[in-house]
């Protein structure tokens, strides 16, 4: 191949301008980066960079405000849906999203999650489920699988004493305020494309003012699962997906 293909006319993919140029602090191979990127790509493609306001959580993605090239607000741990509620009510024409881990959304923030969705707040909630508290050193999360080892369940989660993994996504899908609920992944090209389509749909639905859109992304935590990124993605397919099956959970009835 002698001919140079690297010309502006041939460009088919480059990092979106809806992300800043900061180097992500995430561990190698962590799905957080890919999840950020597809959300940012949707924002760029919809041309809504100036009209979007994001709310960052506490967790590994606490610094998400450094990476999204849109207006961002940090929330206290688990409170992103409450903060997003306030933002959306003051600015009903803006596109408002939260980005939250499973510890943030399904443990300390359970009340905010459920009540914001029950009120049908017109926001997008992006939920990164890696079955663990990544940031703080791999403690058990509500979403940790049965038998899964974590720093606070070193012999594996025993459901007799620790409860069963919480399918918060199926739970919130029951609420009348939930308009569109889906579960996706971002570890393989086909999954990335599907997850991005789901996020785009969810953002577009926000214009309809019909309720909360909720996109779960089942993701990895190679560092705390103590695997290489490639191993962690395989482990996720074999262990997380059977319990957290991918696909739409609630689709709008009027669509």
């Amino acid at each position: 191949m002698s001919e140079n293909l690297i010309t502006p006319e041939n460009l088919v993919y480059q990092k979106t301008e809806a992300m800043t140029d900061r180097i992500l602090h995430y561990c190698p191979g962590c799905g957080h980066g890919t999840a950020h990127r597809i959300l940012a790509e949707v924002i760029e493609e919809m041309g809504i960079q100036e009209q979007t306001i994001g709310v960052a959580p506490v967790g590994c993605s606490v610094l998400a405000y450094y990476y999204f090239n849109v207006d961002m607000q940090e929330a206290a741990h688990g409170r992103a849906p409450a903060v997003a509620t306030g933002i959306k009510r003051v600015f009903p024409d803006k596109y408002v999203f939260t980005y939250q881990g499973d510890g943030d959304l399904a443990a300390i923030g359970t009340a905010e999650t459920i009540h914001a969705i029950n009120r049908g707040e017109n926001i997008l909630i992006v939920f990164i489920n890696n079955g663990i508290y990544g940031m703080t050193g791999g403690q058990m999360a509500p979403t940790t699988l049965q038998g899964m080892k974590s720093s606070t369940s070193p012999f594996g989660r025993d459901t007799k004493t620790m409860g069963s993994p919480l399918k918060i996504t199926e739970l919130i899908a029951q609420l009348p305020g939930a308009y569109f609920v889906t579960r996706q992944a971002v570890h393989k090209p086909a999954n990335v494309r599907k997850a991005k389509k789901a996020i785009k749909k969810a953002m577009e639905y926000q214009k309809l003012n019909k309720g909360t859109c909720f996109v779960e992304i089942v993701s990895n935590c190679p560092s705390n699962w103590k695997m290489t990124p490639v191993q962690s993605n395989k482990w996720m397919e074999e262990n997380m997906f059977p319990f957290y099956p991918l696909g739409d959970i609630k689709v709008p009835e009027d669509k």
């Binding site: 006319e9 041939n10 993919y13 992300m19 957080h32 490639v230």
Partner: protein, 71 residues
């Protein structure tokens, strides 16, 4: 015949996670034996079979791959 493509990898931002390597249907990518300034074995091209499909770039968590495809 598939179109020809090419990728440019920002090796200093690559974290050597290897996720792109298995995502490439043409087996274009591998990790270099050398490391970048941060100490990561970075992704490199090992053949010229790239079709510009973008698979590697869309799975890269650090968005370090730019893709070109002939028109």
């Amino acid at each position: 015949m598939a179109k020809r493509g090419d990728v440019v990898i920002d090796i200093e931002k690559c974290k050597g996670c290897e996720v792109c390597v298995s995502a490439c249907p043409q087996e274009v990518l591998a990790l270099a034996p050398e490391v970048n300034k941060k100490g990561y074995h970075y992704a490199v091209k090992v053949n010229s079979d790239c079709t510009g499909c973008t698979n590697c770039a869309i799975v890269c968590p650090d968005a370090v791959i730019t893709v070109y495809r002939e028109k």
